[in-house]
């Protein structure tokens, strides 16, 4: 079982940050309450994992929150697809302009 020491009745989930790009615990919990527990979908709806860290900072926390809320085992929770480039690169660099 996943243990997250959060007492939802006593905290303000809008003040808990899951991602450096402003996605909060509330954003994630609201989606889970609507039955959305797939990280790929959560990513599209909240932009979690789409910022500069490309999920390094946040995806693991999102997975643990889903497991904690749904009672699922972390093994059953799929990671979102890892795409190239695995970190943001300026288009100029990609085209290799001098």
């Amino acid at each position: 079982m996943i243990k997250l020491n959060i007492d939802l009745e006593k905290i303000n989930p809008e003040e808990v940050f899951i991602c450096g790009c402003d996605v909060t615990l509330k954003d994630i919990l609201d989606l889970i309450d609507q039955g959305i527990t797939d990280i790929q979908l959560i990513k599209r709806l909240t932009h979690v994992g789409m910022g500069f860290c490309q999920g390094r900072y946040c995806i693991d926390t999102v997975a643990r929150i889903i497991a904690w809320k749904t009672g699922k085992d972390l093994k059953e929770i799929k990671l979102p697809v890892a795409r190239t480039p695995i970190r943001p690169v300026k288009m100029k660099v990609m085209a290799d302009e001098e």
């Binding site: 390094r56 693991d60 926390t61 890892a82 480039p85």
Partner: protein, 478 residues
Amino acid sequence: MRLTEHPVLDFQKKRGRKITIYFEGQPVEAYEGETIVMALHAAGIRVLGYSVHKHRPRGLFCAIGKCSSCLMTVNGIPNVRTCITLVEEGMDIRMQQEKPILPKNAKPPEWREAEKVSGDIVIIGGGPAGLMAAINAADAGAKVILLDENPMLGGQLVKQTHKFFGKREQFAGVRGIKIAEILEEEVRKRENIEIFLETSAIMLLQDGDEKLVVGVRKNKELVEFRGKAVIVATGAMEKMIPFEGNDLPGVYGAGAIQTLMNTYGVKPGDRVLIVGAGNVGLILAYQLIQAGVEVRAIVEAMPKIGGYFVHAAKVRRLGVPILTRHTILRAEGKEKVERAVVAQIDERWRPIPGTEKVFDVDVIALAVGLRPSIELLHQVGCQIKYVPELGGHVVIRDSRMETTIRGIFVAGDSAGIEEATTAMLEGKIAGIAAALEISSASPEWLKEIEKAQKELDEFRAGPFGRKVLEGIKKVVVE
């Protein structure tokens, strides 16, 4: 504030030439060889910018180029990771407040072929695993390309001031920082190892029988690395935990604090609360005290201390309370951490009302574990599996560290969270195994793999290896 006196480290000798950089137009003292964020921190600057949507202050978090908290505009270029970018005389550093605007009349860039570098084995990551892989693969006859996105080799060894355990041939009794120096020297004296620093790997692809690693050097130059085999030794990333105010500047990963004080000699703050009483939390407490920083308390959610008893005893003797069955409830402060509120938790891990304690601290150190960096392996299509004993998602591999894709190997923390000693042994195995696979090594090298495998088994036979061994059983397939 910069450290001048330290029982283990001599920063006066280490610091480069004094230069001046500019933060929001104001001059800031810096030393050549340090990263932008270290110089800013030494000058007391904690807030590096504001988030795009909610305008929350942002400060350092991981300090090794993996998260996104330190992005700033440097010499007019937005979104520079200032934790892995070195200072240069006269640099103009600005905070970011909103999304940088794309120039409206910019022309599309002209296409030009990227620089191409070929070798036998491409190794991604210059930490203990990558360095050992490079040394052994080179000795086994392979032409090696080694890349790392940091400006220096050594990975996380460069911040480890404590002495290692284990056997003599595994550097027992030697400090991590010294091991980094020894390995770097070994790598640099081998002519068949080509080193690329400040170079990030952004793609790993199969191109026929070859492997292609696309890299970006210094954020501005594309380089194609080609080899017959690739070893991914990309290390790990600090785990984050949810609590109120967890994004305030001053909430750092434990590793970032070690980078500040042990690599660059910058005092992380004056009063610290540590979350997590595993080995990292305990060693960090000791190192903070060595650097003259006050450690107010260590909180640990488990009913028992996770780390070695000797470390815990040492920290307690120095007067640091270790509160088990306690958790952090919130970080408070206007622009940066000013207080931490903790509480006791019950058997179901829920905070018990009325047990709150407030600590006046300016730094909260999260030592709640690490997670393997598997992005490249995941992206190229290696099979992955969630294994809690190894820190999270890891790749399936055989006993020679080869993944489910032929010619792609893994080593060190990116193969599962352990210690630098096991990372070095895994690096050795992966380096030789890759050299054998591309037939640059003679069969006698098999004995060296077996020797390293035996040493790994011995090292994991201790009480702390039990959990890792459970995890290994789940991911190693033949």
